[in-house]
């Protein structure tokens, strides 16, 4: 038989409650550990996903830049040809103005002829100026395209 005093002490100490607490704590630690491990796993996969997404977005943006380069090359080629044509025409018209002036300044021509060639020469010079304005328009078009491109690129850069 267990003496009453010992039973009283055992009841006071409550060893089963003590063990029960330890067991509950152990379970709680194990549960928290499992939770942390799961979180780590999901963190790893989320980080991979995020990196893949960022990489994909970067590739898409680079592809857009490449496409723009191709478009701009075409536009530059067109405007370059237009400007080259304008240059040739301008030189020709300037030569025509010189020829008209040669006639206007020649000896032994009538007053009417002199007047006619002189005004013809001036008309050619006005044409030269007009060709210059066309060149300016070509440059403006290009600049507009570049600025549009720039604002698009800047918007994308901020995304």
């Amino acid at each position: 038989m267990v003496p009453d005093e010992i039973l009283e002490v055992v009841e006071r100490l409550n060893p089963l409650g003590f063990i029960e607490n330890m067991y509950a704590r152990k379970l709680s630690y194990k549960l928290e550990t499992r939770k942390l491990k799961n979180e780590m796993e999901s963190m790893r996969s989320q980080a991979d996903l995020l990196k893949r997404k960022m990489g994909l977005e970067y590739d898409i943006r680079l592809e857009q830049i490449k496409q723009r380069r191709a478009e701009m090359e075409l536009l530059f080629k067109q405007e370059e040809n237009k400007l080259a044509q304008l240059t040739i025409t301008r030189e020709q018209v300037l030569r025509m103005a010189e020829n008209a002036q040669n006639s206007a300044l020649a000896e032994g021509i009538s007053l009417e002829e002199r007047e006619f060639f002189a005004s013809m020469s001036y008309e050619y010079i006005r044409q030269v100026h007009a060709f210059g304005e066309s060149s300016r328009q070509s440059l403006k078009n290009l600049l507009g395209a570049v600025e549009r491109n720039e604002s698009l690129l800047l918007t994308e850069g901020k995304q």
């Binding site: 152990k26 630690y29 300037l94 002036q101 020469s121 030269v128 210059g132 720039e150």
Partner: protein, 195 residues
């Protein structure tokens, strides 16, 4: 008999205490690992994002620089053409002035000779030449304005291109610096070859 029960309880208690200690250690180790991993991932993603962003910035600015450079070349050509046209009209103006001087000296001679018919003829021609000169001066002024504005366009485009070049050097990391040095070296060798 009760000693056995007490002994059993004590042994169970010790075993549970050991298991709890082990579980706590494992939990603490995992918590540290979790925290380290979170920081490492954050750092890694921040670094990855910054690397990608810098790389995109480099490509974007390099593209803008290329476009700016191309348009600058065309602006330069246009300016040189404008300059040529302006010189052409100046040449015409010089020739017209020379002709006027000839007419004026002819007029002096005709007046001395009192050849009224010749005087009238020269005066009429002078009238035409003076009108032609005024027209040429008007044309020259217009072409001078055009040349000036082409020059200003060229200079502002040049400045924009140069600004982009320095932006690439300063904002795009080592890639930008290498690109800048290569461009500078190419420009230098071109300058040297041009003398």
């Amino acid at each position: 008999m009760w000693w056995l029960i007490v002994g059993g309880l004590v042994a169970w208690g010790i075993a549970e205490s050991e298991a709890e200690k082990k579980a706590r250690k494992e939990f603490e180790r995992t918590r540290t690992q979790h925290s380290n991993m979170m920081n490492a991932h954050r750092r890694e993603i921040r670094h990855f994002a910054s690397h990608k962003s810098k790389s995109f910035e480099f490509h974007k600015l390099r593209e803008l620089h290329w476009e700016s450079h191309k348009i600058n070349q065309l602006a330069r050509k246009t300016y040189l053409e404008g300059k040529k046209s302006y010189s052409g009209v100046c040449r015409l103006l010089d020739r017209a002035k020379r002709k006027r001087r000839e007419f004026v000296s002819d007029l002096v001679i005709a007046k001395k000779q009192k050849d009224k018919g010749r005087v009238r003829e020269i005066e009429e021609n002078l009238c035409v030449i003076n009108r032609h000169l005024r027209q040429l001066e008007d044309g020259r002024a217009k072409l001078a304005d055009q040349k000036e504005s082409f020059y200003n366009d060229m200079i502002s485009l040049q400045q924009a291109t140069t600004e982009l070049k320095y932006q690439i050097r300063d904002n795009c990391g080592p890639g930008g610096e290498i690109w800048f040095d290569r461009i500078e070296a190419r420009n230098e060798s071109r300058r040297r070859s041009l003398g």
